[in-house]
């Protein structure tokens, strides 16, 4: 700062800035606006993607929560009684309703209108065929899709799956008041089936419940215990400390290992090495327990870290043992966080698909599992299986399954949020 340095003496300025700066500023303001627009565009894109996803799934799936049923009155004629098998007898009975079906091809066409497999089963179950019989059976998936407006009758006949005659028959049934639309109980009560109109989520729901329960029963205590150990008991110095840090890095890495790798682990260890059967919820639960474990350790550690050390210290100064200080003072305060982390881990486990594919939970299961050792599927796997079929009825059901899964997940996450709020409020009192 030499005295010779010149200093332009312009203390009083009418405006704050010069014209050149103002010109430059216009560009900078434009850049600022652009940046802001990029941000808005990014947020809008994300929300639009979410909206598109939800709308597309709800619009495909909402109609699957109802289903059309057809009421048939079967009178037993000499002809029907003489039929060699149930299916034939049913077709004949149906033909009687319409009185115009004679040849085999037409019979088959007619049987496609209702769920023939359900109807034959009902027919077989009927004790006395000499009396008139009323059957209330699901419409076939084709009829159902047509009645829900998913098949366009204005298309040329060879471009749609339903024939002109079938459309007439359906109209006739409808005109007689024989077609009803009801809540689709079967979607939740039935196990999987080859016929879309009969297929339900029962096996998947029970499978998922067992898998998540087993996984949580294993991963929660182990994960929370591990977190408590790392937080309060693990050595921090010397070789032990080095081991502790290694363990922590290891857990962080484990949390980011792709879930399909856990499936490979389950396949190699539980199925190939220990010889447990495939497709059972027990193995699914074990695999997902390993998957959940690091998530729960990390969430629990974070909530333990948020508890001030001074609390444990003051407990120690009052003569509590380390174990007592930690379990009586540190853990209860971290509990809300642990609980939230655990519930979120459970929600993740419920939506996990890839590891379950590896341990053979893609089997076609038509029974409802009664124990963790019975073959089962899981909700997300069922969605995967149904979405693989081309017929619109399957996509509709898969969407409905997704809606159910999302509702359950929303419910679980809602519980996590409420629980966190509650416990936090209690802590403040």
């Amino acid at each position: 700062m030499s005295a010779t340095e010149t200093y332009s003496d312009t203390p009083i300025k009418a405006a704050i800035t010069t014209a050149a700066m103002e010109a430059r500023m216009r560009k900078r303001r434009a850049a600022e606006r652009r940046f802001r627009v990029y941000g808005q565009a990014a947020v809008a894109f994300s929300i639009a993607a979410l909206a598109w996803l939800l709308i597309s799934i709800v619009s495909t799936g909402a109609s699957a929560f109802t289903q059309h049923w057809v009421t048939l009155d079967l009178t037993v004629t000499a002809q029907t009684n003489a039929s060699p098998n149930d299916r034939r007898r049913l077709a004949d009975a149906l033909a009687d309703v319409f009185g115009e079906v004679s040849d085999e091809a037409s019979r088959r066409e007619l049987l496609q209108v209702i769920s023939a497999s359900v109807a034959t089963a009902d027919l077989r179950a009927a004790q006395n065929l000499s009396e008139p019989l009323q059957l209330i059976v699901p419409a076939s998936d084709l009829t159902d899709q047509y009645l829900k407006g998913h098949i366009d009758p204005n298309l040329p006949e060879d471009q749609r799956k339903i024939t002109n005659r079938q459309i007439e028959w359906i109209a006739a049934l409808d005109a007689e008041g024989r077609v009803h639309r009801r809540f689709n109980r079967g979607l939740f009560a039935n196990p999987d089936s080859r016929d879309p109109e009969r297929a339900g989520l029962a096996s998947a729901i029970f499978g998922s419940i067992m898998i998540v329960l087993i996984a949580s029963a294993l991963a929660l205590p182990v994960g929370i215990g591990a977190a408590i150990y790392l937080d309060s008991f693990a050595p921090q110095t010397g070789w032990g400390g080095r081991l502790t840090r290694m363990l922590e890095v290891n857990i962080n890495n484990l949390a980011a290992v792709p879930s399909i790798v856990f499936g490979l682990l389950g396949l190699a260890v539980f199925i190939n090495f220990f010889g447990l059967p495939r497709s059972i919820p027990l193995v699914g639960g074990l695999v997902l327990a390993l998957r959940m474990f690091p998530t729960i350790v990390i969430a629990s550690r974070a909530s333990l870290l948020a508890v001030p050390v001074s609390l444990t210290d003051s407990a120690l100064s009052l003569g509590a043992s380390r174990m007592q200080a930690v379990f009586n003072h540190r853990v209860p305060l971290a509990a809300p966080g642990m609980m939230t982390g655990s519930i979120i881990g459970m929600a993740q486990a419920l939506g996990e698909t890839a590891p379950l594919l590896m341990i053979g939970m893609v089997a076609f299961v038509t029974t409802v599992p009664s124990s963790p050792m019975d073959p089962a599927t899981a909700l997300p796997v069922q969605i995967f299986l149904w979405s693989g079929s081309a017929e619109a009825a399957w996509a509709e059901r898969a969407s409905a399954a997704i809606i159910s899964l999302l509702v359950v997940l929303m419910f679980i996450n809602g519980i996590a949020i409420i629980l966190r709020e509650r416990l936090q409020r209690r802590r403040k009192l």
Binding site: M1, E5, I12, A14, I16, M21, M25, R28
Partner: protein, 259 residues
């Protein structure tokens, strides 16, 4: 000091300035004139609003969500809160140095060149170099860093960092320098250097300084304003404030009875 004051119109004229943070009233109805080419100290207990008042002069309060400023603030007769005034450009005229030096995590050179680059103050490369050197010289840092201009700025000592951020502010050629407790994180030696520098800089700039240290205010400022609970209690020549304050609260504060 009085001669300067009579010669020049005030740099800033504040009338009825209030600042609210949400429901909280941080400043209430402040009237104050700040003289150019002098050092004005703002003192008062923690939370009295002195930093808020300082940030009124370069509209930094607007970066805090929920902050609202009312009243008129004239700089050289221009209302700086007028809709036509861009706060970004205002800040090129009103530089600021903060309590904790926060050099950007890049080189010493790039730190000083940051402002000129933003505002396009130097077109040719040599010009920018000269500007950086000039600013570093004015901040009294040139001799210490001229050989390590490409070193990361956070590697300087705290005292050097504080002078670096001062140089950074000087590089955009402001009229006013606001200082928010600039010496609070410095050791006594670095503080002494900074105070000597302020003494030098006030020949060219209007300097407003917030300080916790009454000794510092007494040493370097020409006028001192005492704020308490968001109100301006007393504003006078520094020697008058420290020797013969007219308000008992000022008396109590400078004698250490509260604060």
């Amino acid at each position: 000091m009085k001669t300067i004051e009579t010669k020049l119109a005030p740099k800033f004229t504040c009338r009825g300035v209030s600042v609210h943070y949400g429901e909280f009233r941080a400043l209430h109805d402040i009237d104050i004139d700040i003289a150019d080419r002098s050092v004005t100290a703002l003192i008062g207990p923690s939370g009295c609003g002195k930093s808020t008042l300082l940030r009124v002069f370069n509209r930094m309060n607007e970066t805090i969500p929920d902050a609202r400023t009312r009243g008129t603030v004239l700089m050289d007769g221009t209302d700086i809160y007028a809709p036509s005034i861009d706060p970004v450009l205002l800040r090129t005229r009103v530089g600021m140095v903060f309590q904790k030096p926060a050099p950007f995590p890049r080189s010493v050179y790039d730190n000083v060149a940051y402002g000129p680059r933003l505002h396009g103050l130097a077109q040719a490369r040599g010009e920018l170099k000269r500007l950086v050197e000039k600013s570093l010289r004015r901040a009294g840092l040139w001799e210490e860093v001229k050989d390590r201009l490409s070193l990361p700025a956070p590697s300087l000592s705290i005292g050097q960092q504080q002078r670096l951020v001062l140089a950074r502010a000087l590089a955009i050629d402001p009229d006013v320098i606001l200082m928010d407790e600039p010496a609070s994180s410095l050791d006594p030696i670095a503080t002494a250097r900074l105070e000597a520098l302020i003494e030098e800089l006030k020949k060219r700039y209007c300097i407003i300084i917030v300080t916790h240290s009454m000794a510092q205010a007494a040493r370097i400022s020409d006028k001192t304003a005492f704020l308490h609970k968001g109100a301006l209690i007393e504003y006078d020549q520094t020697d008058r404030i420290f020797t013969n304050p007219s308000d008992t609260r000022t008396q109590d504060y400078i004698t250490g009875r509260f604060g």
